[in-house]
Subunit: 140 residues, 4 copies
């Protein structure tokens, strides 16, 4: 269920925490996007040396989580079993859908969806760890 | 000539300064996008209550400035005289082009283009004032 | 009527001659595209400091000439009288159509269309002069 | 990190060297695209008899390398293991992404990305050999 969106201030705290984790772990340069529950970009940062398509990938991971209401890790697992279905999602989503870990929903204390985060730049398992660190910065 | 891109830290300072000006002037909620000279998103923030299409508009203003190497205010003036030409640019640009003030190029001390900013949310004249305030935060 | 395409060697000579004219006249940095009669890119060059959207504009001028079999100057004149029609062309052409001077058809000695050139970067009148200089380099 | 783009003169030397290698090896007709680090076309040539979609393929190989900062050969390997992920990239990239060898980044002496090359026309291993020959023509 979609709740009231997190604020810009909260979204920026999420982005900062995700990047901080990446630096602490010495990951590759990261790109982080936070969307509101409607899928519209709220906050975004692309670290120096993060490559050209990373903005679209980060956004497509966050939007991918909102698309089906699932972490993009699950979309990646679905992709192994039903690739044509996942390809179809990518085509019909205005910003695509990237079926790899790193996209997570953001919930408030009432378990309502209040946003989504997408991280890309390192291997997807590590992208997801940074996404979790970002979300952990929120206190409701 | 395109120079080396501003850094994420610089881009975030530009965004913060643009938003600060908006609050100081009590403008409508703003959305600010900063792109690298290649047109790829670097930093972005959408203030609470800034509406759904503002991300695309802010990006299209910054990309619009990079498209022809001109402030989008000038694209707006061109649109009054040659609307179909400006429409054509909007069609062939991957992220569109918004021909209204608020999109400006960012130059370094050597007069090289090192990024672009796009602001939207208030009337376009005020968007442009915030864009200028954002750029003024940079010291090279 | 479409004839056999000019060769790559000829297309490169056209590009070189168009750029040479631009430098001789001290025009703004130019971008030049030469397409085959089917509308497929043959040769292309973007001068240093020619802005981000110039590739698409040069291609859309050349394709614009091929679209209706007319110099894009004429499309610009049509745009003043029938803007909605010209807008429609821009939408249905895979690479857009730019209704400003600078796009010309290339004819062989039998008056067959053997390619098209598109130039952008200075004012459109000067773009067109460079396009003509490019074509003048061909001998059939 | 993206450095200052190679010049048009350098880009044309890269194209010429790639084509020269193709002719020396008697490869199929080739198409070569060189982009700046932002992904915008700099120089391009399509040999006579190189087919219709080769321009888009060459550009999508060069852009593919810039997308993730990897040779497109690696994208091809990723495609074998995670095809839906690579499909997603193709959808969200404005010019697509072609996951086959032939797209390489161009680095300067400081290991900064200063452009990208994409070659298509023969088998992809040979396309990549020509791309390497193109890059070898540069001296920094």
């Amino acid at each position: 269920m979609a709740g009231r969106s997190i604020t810009l201030e909260q979204a920026q705290a999420v982005v900062a925490a995700a990047l901080k984790e990446g630096r602490a772990q010495n990951y590759q340069p990261l790109t982080v996007a936070v969307l509101d529950p409607g899928g519209h970009l709220l906050a975004f940062a692309r670290e120096d040396n993060s490559s050209n398509l990373r903005p679209q990938i980060a956004i497509a991971k966050a939007a991918g989580a909102l698309a089906l209401g699932l972490p993009t890790r699950i979309l990646g697992e679905m992709a192994a079993e039903r690739p044509t279905f996942i390809n179809a999602l990518s085509t019909i989503s205005p910003v695509g859908v990237v079926p790899a870990a790193g996209g997570l929903l953001i919930y408030n204390a009432e378990s309502e969806v209040v946003g989504a985060i997408g991280v890309t730049g390192d291997i997807s398992d590590n992208d997801e760890l940074c996404a979790k660190a970002g979300i952990a910065a929120l206190t409701f």
